[in-house]
Symmetry: C4
Subunit: 264 residues, 4 copies
Amino acid sequence: MSSSDIFIGETIGTAILILLGGGVCAAVTLKASKARNAGWLAITFGWGFAVLTAVYTSAPLSGAHLNPAVSLALAIKNHDYSTLPEYWGGQLLGAMIGATLVWVAYYGQFHAHLTDKEIVGGPGAQATAAKAVEAEEKGAGPVLGIFSTGPEIRNVVQNLATEIIGTIVLVLAVLTQGLNDKGNGLGTLGALITSLVVVSIGLSLGGPTGYAINPARDLGPRIVHALLPLPNKGGSDWSYAWIPVVGPLVGAAIAAGIYNVAFA
Amino acid sequence: MSSSDIFIGETIGTAILILLGGGVCAAVTLKASKARNAGWLAITFGWGFAVLTAVYTSAPLSGAHLNPAVSLALAIKNHDYSTLPEYWGGQLLGAMIGATLVWVAYYGQFHAHLTDKEIVGGPGAQATAAKAVEAEEKGAGPVLGIFSTGPEIRNVVQNLATEIIGTIVLVLAVLTQGLNDKGNGLGTLGALITSLVVVSIGLSLGGPTGYAINPARDLGPRIVHALLPLPNKGGSDWSYAWIPVVGPLVGAAIAAGIYNVAFA
Amino acid sequence: MSSSDIFIGETIGTAILILLGGGVCAAVTLKASKARNAGWLAITFGWGFAVLTAVYTSAPLSGAHLNPAVSLALAIKNHDYSTLPEYWGGQLLGAMIGATLVWVAYYGQFHAHLTDKEIVGGPGAQATAAKAVEAEEKGAGPVLGIFSTGPEIRNVVQNLATEIIGTIVLVLAVLTQGLNDKGNGLGTLGALITSLVVVSIGLSLGGPTGYAINPARDLGPRIVHALLPLPNKGGSDWSYAWIPVVGPLVGAAIAAGIYNVAFA
Amino acid sequence: MSSSDIFIGETIGTAILILLGGGVCAAVTLKASKARNAGWLAITFGWGFAVLTAVYTSAPLSGAHLNPAVSLALAIKNHDYSTLPEYWGGQLLGAMIGATLVWVAYYGQFHAHLTDKEIVGGPGAQATAAKAVEAEEKGAGPVLGIFSTGPEIRNVVQNLATEIIGTIVLVLAVLTQGLNDKGNGLGTLGALITSLVVVSIGLSLGGPTGYAINPARDLGPRIVHALLPLPNKGGSDWSYAWIPVVGPLVGAAIAAGIYNVAFA
């Protein structure tokens, strides 16, 4: 794979990943969306099939890492860090493009939601408002959850641990794919398996932090949230932003270590 | 593939697609249906597996485009527009047959729903009635959603953009199938992947407009809605009808362009 | 395949199909079940994966028809009716065994449900009771839905039409499997596809009659319902019993005809 | 496979199985989890995809039994009991590691939940509290369900029967995998099928006892529940603990017998 194929593939793939992943969060969250309140199962399947779609459409170009943690783990496994810049660069750029496309696709919904008095600071919907106020005090605006992850309980050690554990599971599944599919040429099936692994991590480990398990998935859209001209958008919660970057990278390194000891 | 195989395959396949896709909308919407209020996840999986069933049962005859936008993109990719008439003709005819079969399968449910005073214009169920009245003023009758798509917020630019973005994702996945499955002969697996991509688009990008992403899927059933002898059926919202036709075709052309630049 | 392998395979497979299919209805319906009120999506995925499990565990013995309508369609397609008795016999016996196993697995739940005064004829839960009384007048007891299907609106023509349409879709998917999987040896994938087709039919066409689409699936458990010593079980609705037998057989014959004309 | 590969593979795989399976129960149960009250479908898909992830990441080392009942059935089928100690040992150790990791990932949620006065013994949420008190009298603390299974209705004969029936279905599907995938080398697809079989068993047979169908899945986490320093954790319900051990082992033996008679 050439450097440009890697960069273009990762940009396209991660843009589709975040368009669809951020999209399902917008769909379930925003006013005047047909999918409003579709629930946690919709979010986890939405992100899982976002992975499927994104992997499938970028694998022929770049191998579809779409996640700096995955790229790091594969670099550790293969003792080859030479293409990390192309991978990481494409992933961050793609994530920012994807988050911007979510805003385009849900333009009217964002406006209707953020200018609704009952949703943003009004007296109605007391419980929701109270929760939103609490989040806002910590720096997270009312639609930040469509862009980036955030913890239900703020605890650096636990939040890091949860992201590390989730990423270990993801990366072990990615690393063992080569052992499972050897000789079958079933790359397409591998994309399906990976997507269901992501559904699994979401259902099982997403409760505390919202399962970033991918630095680009969290950082790119957070930057876009800070830049977009959304009314009443509130803060981008930058104090939390390092956890979904560091946690997944640490998890990836641990998973690569487990792989090299137990499987290689 | 002969011209008649293409036409018959697309007619059968698109009829099954719309029978099952419109069917799930009827199942979730209509009074006296066991699936009433089964939710957005039921609708998105219902449409996704409708694609799976329809592709599977028509692929041996016509290759299972089942979507004028897909046929257009493949024609652009292959520089061959000679079979577009058979594809488009079969797709529109099949969509009309499928929508009619939904009416047959849910005959009693349509009647019970449309003659229920609380649902159609009555004093009960105020919120629903208010929403129905608002939709009706814009030209959409109370069961049009079983046949065709409609926007939650009417905005030509955004509605077009959402349909274009959704179709780009769909068509990129279809076009890269050849690259992913090369030599595996895994056409069946391709049908499964495509169906899950459609679930993904529905979950993530269906909120604003109901994801037509297919001109035949929207236009054929809208014509049938205008023709069927349904009591109190209301308008067929023709002022919106061009968007789910033009949007997907534009999206398909953009996706084919991306494919030819980045992947070919 | 020997006659005894066919009979044993169909008996095992259909028993598993009805154990799991009837089981999900019991799980969602009965008091003191962890899955109570899990909803229509649970029922449709439950029946779909019941098909997957049953096909997978019986295919090596009998080819896993598990449905008299499927056996009939394959007999018509292959012009060979010689093994129909073994298939139909095993299917009916297996369905009766499966329905009995549902009763064993949910023994305490059946008793708790049918002796609960609020559920059976009591003053509480008015709406449910009213609906139950209405059904009872038509001959269907309060747990018959765990065993057999029944219509939301009683209309012989529509009920037959819905069952015929659903079965045509199912049988077309089964018949085209040979064309899709030719040379891949992907029988396992075929089982997965068929199960998702059944989920699709359930989501899209199950609303009016509960999608029997299989004479043995409906008749065998209805006989068991009539025989089991359940308290307050009410009637077995024999006046409806012929529709989910005749409808699917007619649908299978039509689908075989479509196949022979368009695909063969 | 070497003894150490078996032990390490089963330890890793069962740890992932219980981390993700216990994780989804924590996610749906605990206060301050984004997935709270996500429902039975989330639990059954969560456990199913936990199986998928765990099998996929351990199959290259140990063949991924991850269940003492599966190991027993394969030993009976192959007349080779020599590696049972490595399999059973790794499975129990892995299950205990997995349950501990659930506690780490949901640390703050466990604390918030178990110190909430309305959840643990308080006057609010009367129905829940009444149910919790009833369970507690039988020896099951308020979060035991995140670790181990328990019956809705306590009846030794029925509870054993339900676990036996569920395990027969699981083990028959595992044993017939060799017949279905012969020569395809589709081990990866087998992992997917097995995971959907587990979803099926959960949806259809999970209502009465919570479908342990795996002695290690129940016993390992129950030991961890007894050891962890959780506030107000209550009892570990040891009087029930033998049923999800004995039931699955009996079911596995019966399934191996059926296999040897009908399929071998």
